[in-house]
């Protein structure tokens, strides 16, 4: 009886250790995958844009440019706080902290320069679904999550999988 209990305890301990390793491994793998996957800029399929310079992209994300060339209003979809994609975009495109980003949009709305702030999305799937659904919308997502029903915009003439792509 005592041996059986000891064996069970031993097996359980191994299981816990194995599960722990599995979880840690999954997290590390996911993090590795995210950092290795560049950020793709995606737009609604009908949007008349194929390529943007990084400065033009920043102008759109700052809502200094609010219309596409066909006069469709740009709808900016931004991931909710604490997502890795949002952190990356705030750092590389906005060059702002979370507090500065919030302050920027509150001031922008208060100056009556924009009718509304960016729309918040909570997952990659939600971002992609809404880019498909809203004409003129633009968002960002991990390049390996992009689906066929959205258009990936070249940045500085480059696609996410090409050398020199600026959002890696």
């Amino acid at each position: 009886m005592r041996n059986s209990f000891h064996n069970l305890h031993h097996i359980l301990r191994r299981l816990v250790v194995a599960m722990g390793l599995l979880i840690v491994g999954s997290v590390l793998f996911a993090a590795e995958e995210l950092t290795e996957s560049p950020i793709a800029i995606v737009v609604h399929k009908d949007t008349p844009v194929e390529n943007l310079s990084l400065d033009e992209l920043r102008s759109i994300f700052l809502a200094d440019q609010q219309f596409w060339s066909n006069r469709t209003r740009i709808t900016l979809l931004v991931r909710a706080p604490q997502s890795d994609e949002r952190t990356f975009v705030l750092d590389r495109i906005y060059q702002m902290s979370e507090a500065q980003f919030r302050h920027y949009w509150i001031a922008k709305m208060f100056r009556a320069e924009v009718p509304r702030g960016p729309k918040i999305v909570f997952s990659t799937g939600m971002a992609l679904d809404l880019v498909v659904a809203i004409p003129g919308s633009i968002s960002f997502t991990r390049a390996d999550a992009v689906t066929d029903n959205v258009k990936v915009v070249r940045i500085n003439g480059l696609l996410p999988d090409e050398d020199g792509y600026p959002l890696k």
Binding site: D64, R73, Q95, I106, F110, A112, P115, R116, I120, F122
Partner: protein, 362 residues
């Protein structure tokens, strides 16, 4: 209850009911995404409470600053309405007011036409920060653009055309406005109509450089004819320039204004106004990033011979040093020491402590 008080209470209740109604529909400024099906409403509120201590004064104490409600409605892709309503503490009670009310049609990035009551697009500060103390780094506005300023016509009522100018990395944009000029009370706008047939007009050209992200420079011109109490008219021409580095480490704001006022019936009676301020702030790095120390220097000079402002005692010098502590994402505490010299030559020291906040779900 006397009629003005009743009217003020009615206005305030109406504003609150508008806020409540809009809030009930959608109170988020940066809302959860959805496919738009109709009008969208957004609400924000600003407020501040200060403690002011002046040397040689027994009037030290707490003040309630302006309480401001900002409403915006997007009525489709191109049409929107913005409103800014304030309630300001006065000795006689609270005064409510419409600070801005703008109806705007966006045809494209190049052409955005609006009508309403604005903060006059002269220089940078006046149309950059409005009535929300939380938005500006310092406790108060520079003297030249303070609310009630006679140097800059703070508000104007009319129409405004604005937009981007295709200019690549220069990032040029323009504003062209036409509206009622100054009221007979020269610190006020002509809300109920102009006091003469000559409309005020203004042009502003700005550059938000794409290459030097954070740099904003601009030039502006404002023209008006203002009737004096004796029936003569004064021609006002104002030239403004500003240069701003909008990032916070450092943040640099410099603004200069030069006005000429000339009696139309006798051009030998004229005078100049020169006003400027320079403000530098620095958001501290790392774990001290909630702190942002700042300094500001300002000077206003008005010729005694100026037919419009010469008798208004507007000469002013000031040095300000302070620190802003963003202890909460939506609230900040500012401590500021000011040394000011007024037109009568008296120098005054004062200390201000202000807590300001924004109410929004962004």
């Amino acid at each position: 209850m006397n009629r003005p008080l009743r009217y003020q209470l009615f206005t305030l209740l109406f504003a609150i009911s508008c806020v409540t109604t809009a809030h009930g529909q959608d109170a988020t400024s940066s809302e959860t995404a959805y496919v738009p099906m109709g009008p969208e409403f957004h609400v924000m509120g600003f407020g501040d409470i200060s403690y002011i201590s002046k040397d040689g004064s027994n009037a030290d104490g707490f003040t309630v600053g302006q309480v401001v409600a900002h409403l915006s409605a997007s009525l489709g892709d191109s049409f929107g309405v913005f409103g800014e309503f304030s309630s300001t503490a006065r000795d006689s009670g609270y005064a409510t007011g419409v600070e801005r009310l703008i109806v705007k049609y966006d045809y494209s990035d190049q052409f955005k036409l609006s009508a309403g009551r604005y903060h006059t697009p002269i220089g940078y500060w006046n149309s950059g920060f409005h009535h929300g103390a939380w938005l500006q780094t310092t406790v108060s506005r520079p003297e030249m653009v303070k609310f009630g300023s006679k140097i800059v016509p703070i508000h104007f009522v009319g129409i405004l055309l604005e937009g981007l100018i295709p200019s690549g990395a220069l990032g040029l944009n323009y504003k062209v406005g036409l509206g009622n000029g100054r009221h007979s009370n020269i610190a006020a706008a002509g809300d109920t109509g102009d006091i003469n047939s000559d409309k005020a007009w203004m042009v502003q050209l700005n550059s938000k450089s794409r290459r030097f992200y954070g740099l904003n420079v601009g030039l502006g011109f404002y023209n008006d004819e203002i009737p004096l109490a004796d029936g003569t008219d004064v021609l006002e021409n104002t030239f403004s320039a500003h240069a701003v580095w909008a990032k916070e480490s450092p943040e640099i704001v410099f603004e200069y204004l030069h006005s000429t006022h000339e009696l139309l019936t006798d051009s030998s009676i004229s005078g100049n106004v020169d006003a400027w301020y320079a403000q530098v702030a620095y958001r501290l790095p790392g774990r001290h990033s909630q702190w942002k120390p700042y300094v500001r220097f300002e000077q206003n000079r008005v010729d005694d011979s100026d037919p419009l402002l010469g008798a208004e005692a507007l000469n002013f010098d000031s040095g300000v040093v302070g620190v802003r502590w963003d202890f909460n994402p939506y609230a900040t505490l500012k401590a500021e020491y000011r040394n000011e010299k007024f037109d009568d030559g008296i120098r005054e020291n004062n200390f201000r402590l202000q807590i300001s906040f924004v109410l929004t779900k962004m």
